[in-house]
Amino acid sequence: MLKRKDLLGLIDLTAEEITEILDVASEMKKHLKAGDKNLPYLKGKTATILFYENSTRTRTSFELAAKYLGATVINIAAATSSVAKGETLVDTGKTLDAQLNDFLIMRHPMGGAPYLLAKVAKAGVLNAGDGMNEHPTQALLDMLTMREHFGSLQGLKVAIVGDIKHSRVAKSNLFGLKTMGAQVYMYAPETLIPKDIDKLGAKLCKSKEEALEGADVVMGLRIQLERQQAGNFPTLNEYAAFYGVDAKSLRLAKPNAIIMHPGPVNRGVELTGKVIDHEKSRIEEQVFSGIAVRMAVLKLLNDYRDFTK
């Protein structure tokens, strides 16, 4: 059983814990595929979704996941809440506790913020992305999608191409995939590689070819357009030419390879339209996996919560 109050990151999750989450997520997928969106596991529980950053995909995914499990769900956008009136995260956490929330699902632009919230809140905290730190449910849904296609994560070569430095998705995937025995290859402009990430087990590549050659998974990352304005690379055109994945470069990957992207995609920048719509693309499947994984995490955290009560 996942014995945790919170899910803050994959940095300290064991292979057994990840496997358990993915197993439960597979079950959830079966329910959903059978049209069963009315599961009882979180009946009578409350989850508040607290987003300090804009998001459509992750927010709705969490919301639907909690609702499919029978929870009451509240949405708070930071801009319209007391946060805008200057309330600190610690006080917000205490307030949400006093309202008897069972789960707080938070996205925050600053790394480590969920750790602070988890420390002060009695409610279970789910990290929906914190700054450049982690996005654990994204990596879990990526791993679920990979496992479904390949049967196992052990020994897979996963090539992640794009803005690694600012990507919590890349980092959570690195932590999770390494734990599960996969190899992670990374390729990015030198200005967008975080220092010493190779010491965490990433293989840094010198070319797109080196990264994609023999890859089982080709994962693009969203490039924020302001990175170009900040001088990390000269133009989007050059970025696409050197760090974008097109159908030609895809031929270097294994025949059975799949294409992934956490979305939303800048068409023609990190992936060409052809690649996005390619038969190997699993981008839509990732979205479906996302709901299943979030249902699984909520169920497991809730099981432990009930168990410890």
Binding site: I11, T88, L89, V90, H108, M110, G111, G112, A113, Y115, L116, D130, G131, M132, N133, E134, R168, K171, P194, K195, D196, I197, K199, L200
Partner: protein, 420 residues
């Protein structure tokens, strides 16, 4: 007062001596001093250091008294064994004029614990636009100038500041930080910043300004002092400059010689300090720099903050560590007991050197000298408990650390200001 049987830390040796103190001065140091009816202080088992001097603290007064004030800061200082402290000017209002400097002097005299020496700002409002009234501030009691917290961005103005201040025998204490490179960073850039997903500050942000200040000091042939050195490359720049005869002195802090930036991955905002705690290579270089004299002195950069400034997201938390009550313990544990420095060398780094750099009285135990003394039991240990700090700032990342070296008496001008 006669202080008996203490192990006196002299310039080059540690000797068991009696010390006769009269009228705030050390009158006699001898193997035995006959009783004369004065009060006697039994220092058996204790080491006697020249009164410790911390030439880099923040007292937050005026303006931020909720973080610290001159009284609470002075109490913390004498508890930490310090007989003299120098406070940085980034208060509100900034100590960029004789009025604020006088206020600090007067309030410290009322508090009457340790000696408090104000440091004036280099530029008005620490804005880096216009020189502060350096001569007036010196006349009011300022011992040096610094825009601590920021670098004087305009190199021409910095040159003029160094030149002008040298006419008043005032040193610039330089906070070295190239803001463009810091770019919102909050921790050292390295493996730990990558693990935590916190924005990193490269060493170059500090080194570039260290190199600039050295270049200015060399070309103007004036002295300069580099604050809180944290990088291995910064240590090397200073070492090379000293070898070349540049009049540069430098300080470092316990958090740079005792720990590495792995502690930031806990997201404990008490680990957030500027410059940031760096990596093993830097820690080793700082130790080496202390050993070979590249780094002249140990300061705390005591930066007390209110819990509200720290109990927030890491990015939003204030920079700074409340360090004045643990500095001596760190020096004894991580430098003396670890075999890096001898006791006379500790006394040099924590008393003689700051006295020399700022031209303060004290720094040495000698007949005729001022009776500023710190008595400590080096075999007794204590566990750091920030909640029990005398300072208003409980912001220490060292909760639970066991340190050797407990201050038993802090004596200023011959009178006991703290007894532990």
């Amino acid at each position: 007062m006669i202080i008996r049987n203490g192990k006196v830390v002299l310039k080059n040796s540690v000797e068991k001596k009696d010390i006769l103190v009269e009228g705030g001065r050390i009158v006699k140091i001898a193997d035995t001093i006959p009783a004369n009816g004065d009060t006697e202080l039994d220092a058996s088992g204790l080491h006697i250091f020249p009164g410790l001097i911390d030439m880099h603290v923040h007292l937050r007064d005026p303006g931020y008294e909720y973080k610290e004030d001159i009284e609470s800061g002075s109490k913390a200082a004498v508890k930490g064994g310090f007989t003299q402290i120098c406070c940085m000017p980034n208060t509100d209002p900034i100590a960029d004029n004789k009025v604020v400097v006088s206020y600090i002097k007067h309030k410290a005299q009322e508090v009457d614990l340790c000696k408090v020496h104000p440091i004036g700002a280099i530029t008005k409002g620490e804005k880096g636009e216009q020189l502060a009234e350096i001569g007036e501030m010196k006349r009011a009691g300022a011992v040096a100038i610094s825009d601590d917290g920021v670098t004087v961005k305009n190199t021409r103005l910095m040159r003029l500041a160094m030149e002008y201040a040298s006419g008043f025998a005032m040193k610039c204490l330089c906070h070295c930080e190239e803001k463009e490179l810091v770019d919102g960073g909050v921790v050292n850039e390295g493996l730990s910043s990558t693990i935590a997903g916190l924005k990193g500050i490269p060493r170059a942000a500090e080194d570039i300004v260290i190199a600039r200040e050295i270049a200015l000091a060399e070309s103007l042939d004036v002295p300069v002092h580099i604050c809180h050195v944290s990088t291995h490359s910064g240590v090397r720049l200073i070492r090379d400059a000293k070898k070349a005869g540049v009049k540069v002195t430098a300080e470092t802090c316990p958090h740079y010689f005792a720990v590495t930036d792995e502690i930031v991955t806990s997201f404990d905002t008490n680990t957030k300090v500027n410059p940031p705690i760096r990596e093993e290579i830097d820690k080793q270089a700082v130790l080496e720099g202390l050993k070979d004299g590249t780094l002249d002195c140990i300061v705390t950069d005591h930066a007390p903050h209110h819990i509200n400034d720290k109990n927030v997201e890491y990015n939003l938390a204030a920079f700074g560590i409340s360090g004045i009550e643990t500095s001596f313990g760190f020096a004894i544990t991580y430098l003396y007991k670890a075999g890096v420095l001898s006791l006379p060398e500790i006394a040099e780094k924590m008393s003689a050197a700051p006295a020399r750099i700022l031209n303060l009285e004290g720094g040495e135990i000698k007949e005729g000298g001022v009776a500023d003394l710190t008595l400590a039991n080096l075999d007794e240990s204590f566990v750091v408990d920030p909640a029990a700090f005398v300072s208003k700032g409980k912001n220490s990342p060292f909760k639970g650390y066991e340190l050797d070296g407990v201050v038993k008496y802090t004596i200023v001008d011959g009178s006991i200001k703290y007894q532990g």
